[in-house]
Subunit: 222 residues, 2 copies
Amino acid sequence: MNDIQPTRRKQAERRQGSETKILDTAEAIFAANGFNGTTMHQVAKAAGADTALLRYYFTDKDGLFDAVLKRRSHEVNAIRLTALDAYEASAGDAMTIEGILEAFTRPAFDLIAADEGWQNYAAIVAYINSSRGALRQVMSANFDVASQRVIALMRRAFPHADEREIYWGYHFFTGAFTFSIGQTGRIDVLSDGKVSSLDFDAICDRLVVTLGAGIRELCGRR
Amino acid sequence: MNDIQPTRRKQAERRQGSETKILDTAEAIFAANGFNGTTMHQVAKAAGADTALLRYYFTDKDGLFDAVLKRRSHEVNAIRLTALDAYEASAGDAMTIEGILEAFTRPAFDLIAADEGWQNYAAIVAYINSSRGALRQVMSANFDVASQRVIALMRRAFPHADEREIYWGYHFFTGAFTFSIGQTGRIDVLSDGKVSSLDFDAICDRLVVTLGAGIRELCGRR
DNA sequence: GTCTATACGGCGATAGAC
DNA sequence: GTCTATCGCCGTATAGAC
């Protein structure tokens, strides 16, 4: 099996390099300026390429945006589902809301803490999740599976709770979580630098404690 | 004092009517499509006016956006500060986190529940609060005073807590709150219609309970 | 106070050379 | 696979009539 010639391999590598470069660049600019605030020319220039090349790879602006999101959402979702499965298997009926939230959020915070690209991706997720526009459907398609998995586990952790309280608990959790991954810097300003919205370990620890206790109260567990 | 002639009064009323109409229309479109997703032509057409008239009143697109935000933020902030003052005066050292959150959020939810314009405004606040861009500074200027007031009261409610935990508690609360006023409809989909993100009374009640208990746990009160 | 007409730049998108 | 050149539209903004 030697049908891949050196030149062809080189082309493939080159393509891979360009594509990654473009995705990374687009990710950063989408994170900073939003979808409508970002132009193809901007991305092309910053990536050292041309708009025609972006179209060659991603068809149009929507395609580029989709590609930026899917690259990482598939990865983080797979990790999350694995972590949730593992937690359910190990805890069984002794499952706690803190354990569920930990399994869902820790993998994401770990990725974000270690990599600037993940930080940009997280900022995009944060603003999409708070928007009403058409963009939200893209996210829904990517995240509904993991969300429903969390809700199912919550139902098992609170078997006597009214189903609606479970949904409200998840709702508040999502709000706090997505705001936390958005790195808006607002709490940095309000606290005059005493805490930082980039301190992801601290945020994850406290998010689990705070929303865990809150949801337990809401869902009426002793 | 009769120096205002009938014609001048009519003009003033007409202006008032046009200005309000334009603000209401712009508010709805900004809420639906974001700042960069909204055009002056769109707003002008929907308001039954012309782009030149929008510029006559609001100078440019930024001015229009500012005007949309300020109209309501000034109003809700004044109500909030009054409510917080009243609560502090009545509760004194018996102040609870639930009482603080109630005073801060209930006025906003009441306004939103009763009026579509307020709903659009709230959606704008929600997405700005989750964005990194330049838009956030506008909000910061409008909301920092009320935010710092809440934080000051929280400090009094948890005199023994580490200051940083207060900030994190406020951070999670803001995330859950702004997400709740954004009416993204996401929880409606996830719950298959069993709860509605337009049910503001229900949300306010549960937000106070959930974040109240969570923050109490975080800030280490018995 | 409100509109018509228009300038001007930048946007997404395309054809085609290399 | 990558770029140059260019199109046509639509965005904000302006001048000036009514």
